[in-house]
Symmetry: C2
Subunit: 171 residues, 2 copies
């Protein structure tokens, strides 16, 4: 048995309970460098706690998925946020869930599409349930900003009945 | 009066005194997420010191330059590193200089070209003299990871005689 997970388009408002959207559209900005650069400032709340925390910059190279996409587990990082920034103008999928008594509640699936404002990334807030990277169409690189250091920074939860994304249609 | 600044191609070795190159090529990696993602791990030494430091994630939108490009000043950030990651597959220019008694020495100019391994970013080490963003060809977005917090995190130095990049040829 499995349940269908319908996708919705990612918006700043719909994602707000789970973290930040990293994009220029709708973001505060100001000119720097003698007017030659516009700085869209402080787009994500980077958090690193625990013992000997460091901010890591990594590149994740994700294999492409295609429907049907089975969502069998979610994970979270109790010691730090994790930001994913696509380095290719291709859509990708974000699945998150609220926490209910230490377990993920009903998952929400978002289709992330680059728009005329540029690429769109997300920053999962510390301890937010989310699915690992789901690229679409082609193998895709993401710049990932997360936390290194001592301590256990991974928790996984496997659903009794997995969810399945059967279509990329939104709405 | 001005002096010509010749460009060289960016390599990991040539940039090592100034910080890190952020790219998959030649980087350590391992598989995660049940084998669906390759993680090129910990590519930059992010440093944030001083009072109430935070790691910031920003997008810088740089206007394009074209030769002749005048290098009249360099800047540095005493309280944190600053990483620039292009979000478009276009070349850009990095100018850095060693510190000599609190002032920049002879600048070095690097042409950064995306290669078959993907986009190439750099992380300026804390307190490393560098020129502000120099995009080429078109207006280009960069994901920038740097430091917020209290205190003065900017120092500028203006050359008595500027340097000029007259050509994008390397060698």
């Amino acid at each position: 048995m499995s349940a269908k997970l319908h996708l919705q388009l990612l918006t700043r408002e719909s994602f707000a309970p789970f973290g930040d959207i990293i994009t220029t559209r709708g973001a505060d900005s100001f000119l720097i460098n003698n007017g030659t650069t516009r700085r869209f400032h402080d787009l994500a709340r980077v958090e690193t706690i625990g013992e000997a925390p460091r901010t890591l910059v990594n590149i994740f190279r994700g294999q492409p998925f295609a429907p049907p996409i089975t969502i069998a587990m979610l994970e979270r990082h109790p010691l730090g946020s994790q930001a994913f920034n696509p380095l290719h103008p291709r859509p990708w999928i974000v699945v998150v869930a609220p926490d209910i008594d230490g377990k993920p509640g009903q998952p929400q699936g978002f289709l992330v599409r680059p728009d005329e404002g540029g690429l769109i990334g997300v920053n999962y807030a510390r301890n937010t349930w989310h699915h690992p990277l789901v690229s679409l169409e082609e193998t895709s690189d993401f710049l990932v900003v997360d936390r290194g250091g001592e301590g256990v920074n991974l928790e996984e939860f496997f659903f009794d009945e997995p969810y399945v994304i059967t279509s990329l249609d939104c709405g």
